[in-house]
Structures are given as structure tokens and as C-alpha cells.
């Protein structure tokens, strides 16, 4: 069989993994005239689409609607009768959304003439410029270039084994059959904070435990503090600056013991959200020069590994674990392989991050502390949503937009937002950064009234002492 390699087993690019890094890379390769294949072992769309970004947004939308019922009265709307949550229906809708999008990816790949193999894959030997990729059924694919886009899975702690019933990872947490009364969430990054927000809105008593001194540790501390305050105001318990000593399950409930004088915390269930680890196993990397460092594949800025012709993109290469970063890396990697001109590696601080808890959080670029540490003399602008007409009309006027400029060049070093729809707003600043706008262009841009985006304008103006509505 290996002697009669048919043309349909030979590709310019073979992508292992069909998530937002892999399928995007394959489509881009096809656009550039390369013959591309994707090997996916489970679902096209990967974790993002099936078990991450998208289904959680569906769940959070349900939680948001539930929350808005509580606010109806303030808007002059009274609902009589009992408000019930049909949990299976909520979860079912979330799964339906994921399924629909996964079908969409399948369609896109087909449309772009990307061949899809449903299998696990293993990197085989290299013959000249051609690399073998072995599928589970013994099929051998031949590729000039192989891109590893296998993603990542939840990291666990030593001595803690998620059982999927009481101690959960994001995957089980996304498809609850019943609502627990109480829940401990370990880790307050984007995943932990989103689950905390969702479960709390669904009526669960949530305790959020974070090892460092604040929640959402990658965000600017001012933003973290606002989210923390909002969570606490809603009745959530937050424990920060404490490491967990153990998390034990007796099958019915969990007990978390913390270092220090803290009382053990008991709850029905716990969710582990302490980061993820790359899927680097069973890929046959041992016989290559691909370097795996603490669960992630080491790459340079062009996604090249230590082995010629093997590349890695997305979560498997390490943080930030973001779908849009994976997609962009896939595009850069393929364009570089194709010898495209003007391909540029992802610049520091160019990847925006969004967290869809209530209130939403979004940021791009450096925090104030990072900017100072990098030696910038800075100007900082702040504008709270309480000064924004649209936010007040929407009844959602809590939050802040903070902008950080380099004093000398006017470069927008960073933007940090918390409040209504900021995940949709951040792109304005991201574009400004890509176009290398300075404060002058941002000030000269007309922001429509009444919109939440006016607060973005005001924040910039404030950095230069020119805010109007404050």
C-alpha cells in the first residue's frame, strides 16, 4: 500500500486537528493554491466550537436572560407567574448551537476542497521532503508540511482526579444534568469566571477560589477589582490569595481545604479551571526534534518547531489559549510556508482577550503595570460607564474603560474594559493599534451618539485631560 501512494493521499499541507487553528489554516492553504487535509479525531471546530467559546456563550445568554427577568420591574414590566429554568432545554440549546457550527465548519472545508480525515494521527518518517502521517486505520498520508493544531485539555492538580460527577472540568460543567445547590470553582481566569457568572445567575451558590491575590489575574488590576466587586455584590463568595491544599469528593459532595487559617469549603460540586495542557501525546513526536516544554510544543514566531516541515499552532503551543490567536497563527504559518510577502508574526500585545462573565471584560495590549515595567512614560485615561447615556438607558451602567498611551509617541499601549458589551467594543481599539493610530486619530474620530462606544472616546480624551462628560 505504501508503494502505491495515490494522489489523494498526498498533500502540500496536512493539519492535525480541526479546531479554530487547524481548520482556518487548512482553508487559508487551499486559498493559496495548496492541497490541504485536516485530520480530526472528534469534532470539527475543536474545543472552541464544541466545548468552549461557543456553547458557553449559549449558556451565558440563557443566564443573562434569566437575570434580565429580575430587572424587568425596573423597566416597568411585570411578569406574573413562576420563572422556571428548564436546565435540560438550556443545555440542549447550547449543544444544538455547537452542532450547527460544527456542521458549518465541515461545509466550509468542503467548499474549500480541504480533505477531512476522521481519525487520530501520528507523525511518521520523513522521506526527502515528504513526511508520513499515519492514521488510526493504517492509512498513510504524505505531506510536505505538517501543522500540529491538536489543542489542549483541562489541566488538573496532583492528587485531584476529576470524576466528572462532583469534580468537573469545563467539559462536564457545560452539560449539567441538574443544578447543584453549591459550587466551588477553582481558578478565576476566563473559564472560571464565566462558569462562576453562569452558575450564579442560574441560582447556584458559587465560591470562586483563586491562588493569586485577585480574580482575572491577567487583566489590569483595576478591572479585576471591578469584576470582583460586582461578583461579591451579587452574592458570590470569592477567596483570593489562597492555595488549595486538597479537594476531596465523597461521591455526594466536595470539600476543599485551603492553606492557611481558612475553614474548609464544602459544596455539592467543584469545577477545575486552573488552565490547560497541550495535547502533545500520541503524536509520535518522540522520534522528531519537536520540543515539548511543560506540556506545550515550543515554536518560533512563525510556528516552526525544531523539526523541518513540522509546525505547531494554537493552544498546543501555550498561552494565551485563545481561539483567535490559534486562527491567526494558522494563517501566518501557512502564508509563510507559501512564501507570501508581508507576513508578519503576531506582535506583542496584539491579541485581544475577552471574558463573557457579567460584567464582561475585554482588553488588548499592556496593563498599566506592564507598560511602566517596559519603561514607558504613560498617560492613562479612565471613563466609567455611569457617564455614558446609552449605558444608563440600558440599565447597565457599571464598568470602566481604561486606556494607556505612551506619553512620547501617543501609541495606544493598552486598553482595558469592563462593562456592557465591551467584548464587542474592544475591536475598535484593536484596529487602532494595528493601524498604529495615536491618541490624535482616536480623538479626531467621531463616535456615534448614543452608543457605548462613546465611552471609548471619552477614555482617550481623559488620558489627555480632555474628557467632556466627566
Amino acid at each position: 500500500m505504501t508503494e502505491t501512494k495515490s494522489a489523494n493521499k498526498t498533500f502540500d499541507i496536512i493539519v492535525i486537528g480541526g479546531g479554530p487553528g487547524g481548520y482556518v489554516a487548512a482553508i487559508r492553504a487551499s486559498q493559496l493554491g495548496m492541497k490541504a487535509a485536516v485530520v480530526e479525531r472528534e469534532h470539527l471546530g475543536g474545543v472552541c466550537l464544541n466545548w468552549g467559546c461557543i456553547p458557553t456563550k449559549a449558556l451565558l445568554r440563557a443566564a443573562e436572560l434569566r437575570h434580565s427577568i429580575d430587572e424587568m420591574k425596573e423597566f416597568g414590566i411585570t411578569i406574573s407567574g413562576e420563572v422556571k429554568i428548564d436546565l435540560p432545554a438550556v443545555v440542549k440549546r447550547s449543544r444544538k448551537v455547537a452542532g450547527r457550527l460544527s456542521m458549518g465548519v465541515s461545509h466550509l472545508l468542503k467548499k474549500n476542497k480541504v480533505t477531512v480525515f476522521e481519525s487520530e494521527a501520528k507523525i511518521g518518517a520523513r522521506k526527502g521532503a515528504i513526511r508520513d502521517v499515519l492514521l488510526a486505520d493504517g492509512t498513510v498520508l504524505n505531506g510536505k508540511h505538517v501543522i500540529i493544531a491538536t489543542g489542549a485539555r483541562a489541566r488538573s492538580l496532583p492528587d485531584i482526579t476529576p470524576d466528572g460527577k462532583t469534580i468537573l472540568t469545563y467539559k462536564e460543567a457545560m452539560v449539567p444534568e441538574t443544578m447543584p445547590k453549591s459550587l466551588i470553582i477553582i481558578g478565576s481566569g476566563a473559564i472560571g469566571s464565566e462558569f462562576a457568572s453562569f452558575y450564579h445567575d442560574m441560582g447556584v451558590a458559587v465560591t470562586l477560589v483563586e491562588a493569586v491575590d485577585r480574580i482575572l489575574p491577567v487583566e489590569d488590576p483595576e478591572i479585576s477589582a471591578i469584576v470582583q466587586k460586582a461578583f461579591v455584590k451579587r452574592g458570590m463568595k470569592i477567596v483570593t490569595g489562597v492555595k488549595m491544599a486538597s479537594l476531596k469528593s465523597d461521591g455526594k459532595g466536595v470539600t476543599a481545604t485551603l492553606y492557611g487559617a481558612q475553614e474548609p469549603i464544602k459544596a455539592d460540586r467543584a469545577i477545575l479551571a486552573i488552565g490547560i495542557i497541550g495535547n502533545t501525546e500520541k503524536l509520535g513526536l518522540d522520534s522528531t526534534k519537536v520540543k515539548v516544554d511543560r506540556g506545550h510544543i515550543s515554536t518560533n514566531e512563525w510556528a516552526e518547531t525544531g523539526e523541518d516541515g513540522i509546525y505547531a499552532i494554537g493552544d498546543v503551543t501555550g498561552p494565551p489559549w485563545l481561539a483567535h490567536k490559534a486562527s491567526h497563527e494558522g494563517i501566518i504559518c501557512v502564508e509563510k510556508i507559501a512564501g507570501q510577502k508581508d507576513v508578519h508574526a503576531i506582535g506583542a500585545g496584539a491579541v485581544p482577550g475577552c471574558t463573557y462573565c457579567r460584567p464582561q471584560v475585554a482588553s488588548v495590549g499592556m496593563t498599566e503595570a506592564a507598560a511602566k515595567e517596559a519603561g514607558h512614560k504613560i498617560k492613562v485615561g479612565r471613563f466609567p460607564f455611569v457617564g455614558n447615556g446609552k449605558a444608563i438607558a440600558m440599565g447597565d451602567d457599571q464598568g470602566l474603560i481604561k486606556t494607556i498611551f505612551d506619553d512620547k509617541t501617543g501609541e495606544l499601549l493598552g486598553a482595558h474594559m469592563v462593562g456592557p458589551e465591551v467584548t464587542e467594543l474592544i475591536q475598535g481599539y484593536a484596529i487602532a493599534r494595528t493601524l498604529e493610530a495615536t491618541e490624535a486619530e482616536l480623538m479626531q474620530t467621531i463616535f456615534p451618539h448614543p452608543t457605548l462606544s462613546e465611552a471609548m472616546h471619552e477614555s482617550v480624551l481623559d488620558a489627555y485631560g480632555r474628557a467632556i462628560h466627566m
Partner: protein
């Protein structure tokens, strides 16, 4: 709206082209597909076709213009019905073809003090307004070329005094971005600059190298010396000078000299050269096309190496200055040249240049003429060499000097005569004191 016709890129590598010939004149009707001009590249002559219909409103780049960069607007086409006169009057005077090398040369040469010393260059990296010879103002680009650059790139460039016109943009459609400006700035890249990080990683392995942006001084040195070598037919004459007597005289003079004065061999070389220029005035000449300029004085430039280049301050009428005075002047000029404290008029002009690399142990070398001067003297090290004196082998301290002459202004015999005079003064230093 007038339609801009630009210098097309006729091959992937083409950067500039010569507009050999216009096939249409202002006022002519042009239809899409008509041949309107012939463009000559380094490889071939090609025809340019109109891609739109209209009437020729303006020809911005004349026939025979060389080095027209790709993308330069070479003509304006009025759309049907549009008033040709309005367009040409509304359009800023197109000015000379749009530079590249030719304009830089022009701005250097047309400067009032046209003969800025070759190897010269303005004092520091940032040209002072006084520095007449520095080309290209920093911000205002020629009105017919819009420079595409990000706001941040513009601000950083303005701050660092970098001419955006000289940069190649790496952004979409050649847009100049921050990384391009920072890449061009040799000094202190900004903290956390992605561009510089990329540059470093990209070159970390084989064939590692660093791009250093050429400052104004380097660009002037490059353009003037290239001009010299390409336009002035150089020839070279070398003689050996026995400097034993000169060294003794120097010792004697220094013994007489007052506090703080120490005559160097170089001072005596300057003096001898000055005297030789007066004795053989035909060698003190400069080619100016229709005329040859004969200088009345020995205005001698001395090449001084400075950080990142060299400058050539002038000792005016060196023949009229005694050795002690020459010594004081040359030392002062050299010191201030190294500190970048020379005024522009102190390093522009001159009729003859001396370049001395003897202190580096160079035995002899040939220097490139400092245009528009007619000759330059390259001075090697004084070293003990075996010599034949009256049929006997002996040892003498010998210094080899090489005169490079612009054959258009200075013939071989004139150069040889000058060298003979120079050698005479050096070997009999008493005569140079007359």
C-alpha cells in the same frame, strides 16, 4: 478629477526607470490602449499604454529623465470633458523629475557652497539648519508623492529625525509602520519593540547580520564619492619621499616652539603641499564642464575620521600660514571635527585634499578625489626602508605619497610636476620655509 499616470513597474525588480520618450503631448486625446511613452529599465525599453481615456493635461516628468522611481506620477490625464488648463494650474508645480539619486546630487551640488567636501559631511547625525549641504528636509515630502505611513510611524520618525521618504514600508501596500521607522533608527530601539525583536530572532541563526540605517553623513559620503569615481577619470602617481631631513627639522622646530605647540609630520606635509600648489598652479584646479577653475590659494582640506564617517575641514590659503600657525589650526579643526562642532563653512569648499593614513601603518594608498576638486594626496607611513644612495645600500625613513588626479582638469605631466615640487619641499624642508 485628473487621472494620475504613474511610472509603472515593468518587471518585478524594477525600482526606477528612465522616461526615454513621450509619444503624446499635452492636449492630445488619449484612448485606453494608446502607447503614450517609452520607458527604459535596466533590462529593456518598453512601451507604456494608457489604461484610461482622456486628454493629456500635464507631463510632469520630461523626456530623458533618468532614475524615476516606480510609482512617481509622470503625467496627468484629464477625464473627458474636464478642463485641461484647470488641472495643470491646480496641480502643484511638478518640479524636477522626482529624485532618487539625481535629486540628492542636485541638492548637494546646487547648494550655495557647492563643493561641500567629499568625504565630508555635516557634523552630527541630525543636520542643523545651517548645514547647507544636507539634502532632503525631514518632513515635507515632494508634493507629488504621498508617503503612506502610519500616524505612529510618522510621529516616531519626526521625533527621531528620520526621513520617511527614505524608508521602505513593510506594511500593506508598502505602508510605513512603526517597525520600519524603528528599524531605520540606528539609535536606541524602543523598549518592547516587536520590530527589533523580530529582527533579532530572524537573524539569530546562519548569516546573522544587523541593518544599520545610513545617516545623512553616510549618504553624503556615498553619493559624493560615487559621483567622483563615476565622473572624474582618476589617475594615480606615487613617489617615495626621504623624510630623514624633515624629521630632524621638525625636531629642531619643536625645540624652538613655545608651550603647547608641537609640529607634526602632517603639518609639514600640508605646508609642502600648499607650497607645491602655488609653485604648480595648474594642479590647483577644478573641472567645471565648460570651464576649468584655477584656484588662487592653496585651500587645503584635511580628511578627519569621525564616528561613523569622516569630515574634511578646510585650511584656507594654507600657503600663507607658517608651520606653527598651521599646526595650531589643524589641531583645532581636527578636535572640533571629532566633537562634531565644526560650522558648515569650515568644512565646505577647498581646492585640494590631503588624506593621511600613515598613523595606521598604511604604506601607500590611492584616495578618491573629493569632488569637484582636481586632486587628492594620499599620505602613507614614514618608515625605515632599505634605499640605494649613490650606489650603496643604506637605510632611510621613507614616506610614500600618491596623488590622485582628475584627468579632465589635471594632466599626467602636471600631476608629476606637482609631485616633484612636493617631494622637493619635503626632502629639503628648508625650502618650504621660504
Amino acid at each position: 478629477m485628473a487621472i494620475e499616470i504613474k511610472m509603472p513597474a515593468l518587471s518585478p525588480t524594477m525600482e526606477v526607470g528612465t522616461l526615454s520618450k513621450w509619444m503624446v503631448a499635452v492636449g492630445d486625446d488619449v484612448r485606453s490602449g494608446d502607447v503614450i511613452a517609452e520607458i527604459e529599465t535596466d533590462k529593456a525599453t518598453m512601451e507604456v499604454e494608457a489604461v484610461e481615456d482622456g486628454k493629456m493635461a500635464q507631463i510632469s516628468v520630461a523626456d530623458g529623465t533618468e532614475n524615476v522611481p516606480v510609482g512617481t506620477v509622470i503625467a496627468l490625464l484629464a477625464e473627458d470633458g474636464e478642463d485641461v488648463v484647470t488641472i495643470s494650474s491646480a496641480t502643484p508645480e511638478p518640479a524636477a523629475p522626482k529624485p532618487v539619486a539625481s535629486k540628492q546630487e542636485a541638492s548637494v551640488q546646487d547648494a550655495p557652497v557647492q563643493d561641500a567636501p567629499v568625504q565630508d559631511a555635516p557634523l552630527a547625525e541630525t543636520p542643523t539648519p545651517k548645514t547647507v549641504s544636507s539634502p532632503a528636509p525631514i518632513t515635507s515630502p515632494p508634493s507629488d508623492t504621498r508617503i503612506f505611513a502610519s500616524p505612529l510611524a510618522r510621529r516616531i520618525a519626526a521625533d527621531k529625525g528620520i526621513d520617511l521618504g527614505g524608508l521602505t514600508g513593510s506594511g500593506p501596500h508598502g505602508r510605513i509602520l512603526r517597525r520600519d521607522v524603528e528599524g531605520a533608527s540606528a539609535s536606541a530601539p524602543m523598549a518592547g519593540s516587536t520590530a527589533s525583536q523580530l529582527a533579532v530572532t530572524a537573524t539569530a541563526e546562519k548569516g546573522a547580520s544587523t541593518l544599520v540605517a545610513n545617516n545623512q553623513m553616510r549618504k553624503i559620503i556615498a553619493s559624493r564619492l560615487q559621483e567622483s569615481k563615476q565622473t572624474a577619470p582618476h589617475f594615480y602617481l606615487t613617489v617615495d619621499c626621504n623624510i630623514d631631513t624633515l624629521l630632524e627639522s621638525r625636531k629642531a622646530l619643536n625645540a624652538l616652539a613655545g608651550e603647547g605647540i608641537k609640529i607634526s609630520v602632517n603639518d609639514m606635509v600640508i605646508r609642502a603641499a600648499a607650497m607645491a600648489l602655488i609653485k604648480v598652479p595648474a594642479a590647483n584646479a577644478s573641472w567645471e564642464g565648460d570651464n576649468t577653475r584655477l584656484f588662487h590659494h592653496a585651500d587645503i582640506c584635511m580628511a578627519v575620521a569621525v564616528d561613523g564617517g569622516l569630515v574634511t575641514p578646510v585650511i584656507w590659503a594654507a600657503e600663507s600660514k607658517g608651520l606653527f600657525e598651521l599646526s595650531t589650526i589643524s589641531r583645532d579643526l581636527a578636535l572640533r571635527a571629532r566633537d562634531g562642532k565644526l560650522a558648515a563653512e569650515e568644512f565646505t569648499g577647498g581646492s585640494f585634499t590631503i588624506s593621511n593614513l600613515g598613523m595606521f601603518g598604511v604604506r601607500e594608498f590611492a584616495a578618491v578625489i573629493n569632488p569637484p576638486q582636481g586632486a587628492i594626496l594620499a599620505v602613507g607611513a614614514g618608515e625605515q626602508r632599505p634605499v640605494v644612495i649613490d650606489g650603496e645600500l643604506g637605510v632611510a625613513t621613507v614616506m610614500s605619497v600618491t596623488l590622485s588626479c582628475d584627468h579632465r582638469a589635471v594632466d599626467g605631466a602636471i600631476g608629476a610636476e606637482w609631485l616633484q615640487a612636493f617631494k622637493g619641499f619635503i626632502e629639503n624642508p628648508v625650502t618650504m620655509l621660504l
